[in-house]
């Protein structure tokens, strides 16, 4: 999808824009159609704001209509009460008002995510008539208010000039939205949508990022309101209805929420539908509802998705020229696999009596371990012994019930996951967390989002800083993918990869941030022999480079081969610690794994190595 929009011919777009701008003046469209185009443009602003929030951050905000009202009344009131009719001032004031209202509703509404933001913003829509009534002195109450004629540098902005203004503002917004969404920021929004947990272990404060996205999405709605007040010259509360909120939502899902230009397609469908079919009023709600239901279940990528599928199909059949492979420009040409990593600033990670209880269940009890830089520290133990719990405590996904966690000399236990990630703790997941709509290369590059940050403004303006950062991200991500032996999948959609490849992608992603501590959660399970070999090599390289590696693993031969030190957990307690040789000889560990009595040597097994099969199917045959 990104590739398609990246290749969007700038020249063609410019031609289209010029055509659109001269259309009314050149007599190509009559008054009815120029008004329709303006209404579509305004509606597409509303829809685009919702797309940013819904399609990219995965939060449902129904309050676009309330922000629309805010923009309209702010612009209208400035003109009527203070004689400020300059359109630029009106648009700036509307933007500011949107940010304020966005913060007031977003700060509480996003504390939990999910339905609470939807409900807060829905509430906001139903409050519009009350607020208009309460502030009747400013808003004209239910009767409405007439607005002043907008001006710019002494010109009255009416007729064709207003048409131009509306088109230019809308085009400007879409340029901003495109540049923001088709950047690392947009990719991070997609990660957030897919998995807030993944976003937080990448070092992103989920709450703040959600708030940012929500406030950004509020701005076009207020701009739309200001433009609407100029277009109609009259503002009354019965414009800002819940039905309009639903039509915005329906337009968003029809056009495809996770796309930049889908908003325009959705707005066209809704606006023309309303104007063309006289029956629309009666069945309006049923139609909107049906759109939501169908789009939610059957084609959740909307018209934009259909268009992309169509283009892709046309390319496959040779009707259209094929795209150059994504980001080929950024990838260095040499095919030599990168042999080694840059030195990593590994650091000692230490737990002191770390404990975790879930209700009455003590999942981890007084565990003290150490993981040194330049070493691989393995955590082993039967299922339910607390390995993943310990990892979750280290990464901050759980709050410890007791004990302390040190990174170097700093106590980091109890900090939120994104802070711990920013200290340089990276991790992979037992079930790899993989976002949709993203290439493998872009996904690996998200690992660098926090550590090699490029701000939002450079991204929107496509400044040289952004281009440099983007190129460096791609280059580094490509090198890491080569390092783990999967450079060939860089341009493929990451959610289309097989499980084994996903695990390697996660390893590359964790390396991208230049982390100091690497937590690998059962990274070897489900891998075939050749993948395991690559993985061994990669982990070996991290150790060589001085990184601290914590490995949770069922594959005992792999652990024996890789680990410098092994900690054995059993029922939430630390059973034994030692070198691989010590652990292999440990009677208690043997007993734990076989169920034999403590110290009993009646068994046929001589060492733990022979008993790996007791761990079940997690051990691939080829690994022996």
């Amino acid at each position: 999808m990104n590739a398609l929009i990246h290749r969007f011919r700038p020249l063609g777009a410019l031609l289209l824009l010029v055509l659109l701008l001269i259309a009314p003046g050149a007599g190509l469209v009559n008054g009815y159609w120029s008004r329709t185009i303006m209404l579509i443009a305004i509606l597409s602003l509303l829809v685009s704001g919702l797309n940013v929030v819904l399609g990219y951050a995965g939060e449902l905000a129904m309050g676009q209509v309330a922000l629309y009202a805010v923009g309209a009344y702010v612009a209208g009131y400035l003109g009527v009460a203070f004689g400020v009719t300059n359109v630029l001032v009106a648009l700036a004031a509307a933007t500011l008002a949107a940010v304020v209202v966005g913060l007031i509703t977003g700060i509480p509404g996003l504390r939990l995510g999910g339905w609470s933001l939807a409900m807060v913003t829905f509430f906001l829509v139903t409050l519009v008539p009350n607020l208009v009534d309460i502030f009747a002195d400013f808003t004209g109450g239910t009767l409405g208010m007439g607005t002043a004629v907008p001006t710019l540098f002494g010109m009255e902005i009416v007729g064709d000039r207003l048409y131009w203004l509306i088109i230019l503002v809308v085009v400007g917004w879409f340029a901003v939205a495109r540049n923001l969404l088709l950047s690392r920021h947009g990719n991070m929004f997609l990660v957030l949508r897919q998995s807030p947990i993944l976003a937080s272990v990448l070092g992103v404060s989920v709450y703040r990022l959600r708030l940012l996205v929500y406030v950004v999405g509020a701005i076009p709605a207020a701009l739309a309101g200001a433009l609407f007040s100029m277009l109609d010259g009259f503002i009354a509360p019965d414009t800002f209805t819940f039905a309009l909120a639903l039509s915005v939502l329906a337009a968003s899902v029809v056009g495809g929420a996770t796309s930049v230009y889908g908003a325009i397609a959705g707005a066209v469908v809704m606006q023309l539908g309303q104007q063309t079919f006289t029956q629309f009023q009666t069945w309006q709600l049923v139609i909107y509802g049906a759109f939501l239901l169908i789009a939610g279940i059957a084609f959740n990528r909307g018209l934009a998705g259909l268009a992309q599928d169509g283009l892709a199909a046309a390319r496959r059949r040779g009707w259209l020229p094929t795209l150059p492979p994504a980001s080929a420009a950024a990838a260095p040409v040499d095919d030599e696999p990168a042999a080694r990593l840059e030195p990593l600033r590994g650091v000692l990670l230490r737990t002191e009596g770390l404990s975790k209880s879930f209700g009455g269940n003590r999942a981890l009890d007084d565990v003290s371990i150490e993981a040194r830089p330049g070493e691989v520290t393995a955590l082993i133990g039967p299922n339910g012994s607390g390995k993943t719990t310990l990892l979750n405590l280290i990464c901050g996904l759980y709050q410890p019930s007791g004990g302390r966690l040190f990174l170097g000399d700093e106590q980091i236990g109890g900090q939120p996951p994104y802070r711990i990630a920013r200290h340089g703790v990276a991790r992979t997941f037992q079930t790899p967390l993989i976002p949709k709509n993203m290439t493998t290369l872009a996904f690996v590059a998200t690992g660098r989002y926090v550590t090699h940050k490029v701000g939002i403004l450079p991204a929107i303006l496509r400044l040289p800083k952004f281009r440099r950062g983007y190129a460096a991200d791609d280059e580094q991500a490509m090198a890491l993918l080569r390092l783990v032996g999967i450079g060939d999948v860089a341009g493929r959609q990451v959610d289309a990869l097989a499980l084994g490849t996903r695990r390697l992608v996660e390893v590359a992603r964790s390396l991208a941030s230049g982390a100091r501590v690497f937590c690998f959660d059962e990274v070897g399970s489900g891998l075939d022999a050749s993948d395991i070999a690559v993985l061994e090599q990669a982990i070996g390289m991290i150790r060589e480079a001085g990184g601290t590696v914590i490995l949770v693993e069922h594959n005992f031969p792999l652990v024996l081969k890789l680990a410098d030190r092994i900690h054995v957990l059993s029922q939430g307690r630390l059973l034994a610690s030692g070198t691989p040789a010590q652990i292999q000889a440990d009677r208690r560990v043997l007993a734990e794994y076989t169920g034999a009595a403590d110290g009993g040597d009646d068994g046929a097994a001589e060492s733990v190595t022979d008993l790996e099969a007791s761990e079940g199917p997690a051990v691939p045959k080829g690994a022996k």
Binding site: P108, F122, I197, N300
Partner: protein, 288 residues
């Protein structure tokens, strides 16, 4: 005291919505946005039974209960089940709003946009109780809501089915592996929630009118009740609903007719900001 009674009677409706949300939430982990619309349909079916068909009370209640339960089952089949098991957890956010909108639209198309008066089944003579006056039908609404809410709370804590429902809300896969029929529980929850919403249609309609967009305000205030009570807590939702009703009634009485919504909104934002898990909710930790 009259204000208190008015607040409790309105609050009972919000509690009912919160209870309905919780029944489905507890059994299937889905938030059914359209539940308030089910209550709205209940008021219309009660109107149809009592006025259009001229039925006595018991058949009217049965008609509404069965009718709404069937609609709830259809909703589950169409809007929820196709999304079960999908990795993308945002689907129901859209589809339940879609289902709610369709119900709004159908109600408007069938019964029109003007409010219809649902007859009160009890005498309209106001009672004087504890220094305030209220209609008998309101007292019945408050009492029956309490009975249902407390009953469901006890049921979920003390019966095998209730515990199974709690377990499957906690972790569908684990519950399924323990031999709990997760799907049946989810479907059953929709049927039960729908039947309760329908059965109360007559009492709710007598207090509010039957009108196609009744669901909007009920959804909001029902959600405020959940926010106060903590999601998944039947007792919390019950108390939250009554509390919301009281806040509304007092704001309307002492601040002005345009303000109660605004005041409730303020309370809602404060709760979300200060106690996002609700006053009675317990902090759940996320799992990887």
């Amino acid at each position: 005291m009259t204000t208190v009674w008015a607040g409790l009677a309105t609050g009972a409706i919000y509690s009912l919505v919160a209870i309905g949300y919780n029944v489905v939430l507890l059994a299937s982990g889905t938030f059914n946005f359209a539940h308030a619309q089910l209550l709205m349909v209940g008021t219309f079916l009660a109107y149809a039974g009592a006025v259009t068909f001229g039925l006595p009370v018991v058949p009217t209640v049965l008609l509404a209960a069965v009718g709404v339960a069937v609609i709830a089952l259809v909703e589950e089949r169409v809007a929820i089940r196709p999304l079960l098991g999908r990795a993308d957890r945002h689907g129901t956010l859209i589809t339940t709003v879609g289902a709610a909108t369709i119900l709004d639209g159908l109600a408007a198309a069938i019964w029109g946009r003007q409010p219809l008066t649902v007859p009160s089944v009890l005498p309209d003579e106001p009672l004087t109780l504890l220094g305030g006056t209220l209609r008998p039908v309101d007292l019945a609404l408050i009492g029956l809501t309490l009975v249902v809410g407390v009953g469901l709370h006890l049921w979920s804590r003390h019966t095998l089915t209730g515990l199974a429902s709690l377990a499957s809300a906690e972790d569908r896969d684990a519950a399924s592996a323990r031999g709990i029929n997760v799907r049946l529980l989810g479907v059953g929850a929709f049927a039960v929630a729908g039947a309760i919403a329908g059965a109360f249609g007559l009492l709710v309609g007598a207090r509010t009118y039957a009108v196609f967009d009744l669901g909007h305000s009920l959804a909001l205030f029902g959600f405020v009740a959940i926010a106060i009570g903590g999601s998944g807590s039947q007792l919390g939702g019950l108390i939250g609903g009554f509390a919301t009703g009281l806040v509304y009634a007092f704001a309307a009485r002492y601040i002005g007719a345009a303000y109660p919504q605004l005041v409730v909104f303020g309370v809602f934002l404060l709760i979300l900001f200060l106690r996002p898990r609700g006053l009675f909710g317990t902090a759940l930790e996320r799992r990887v």
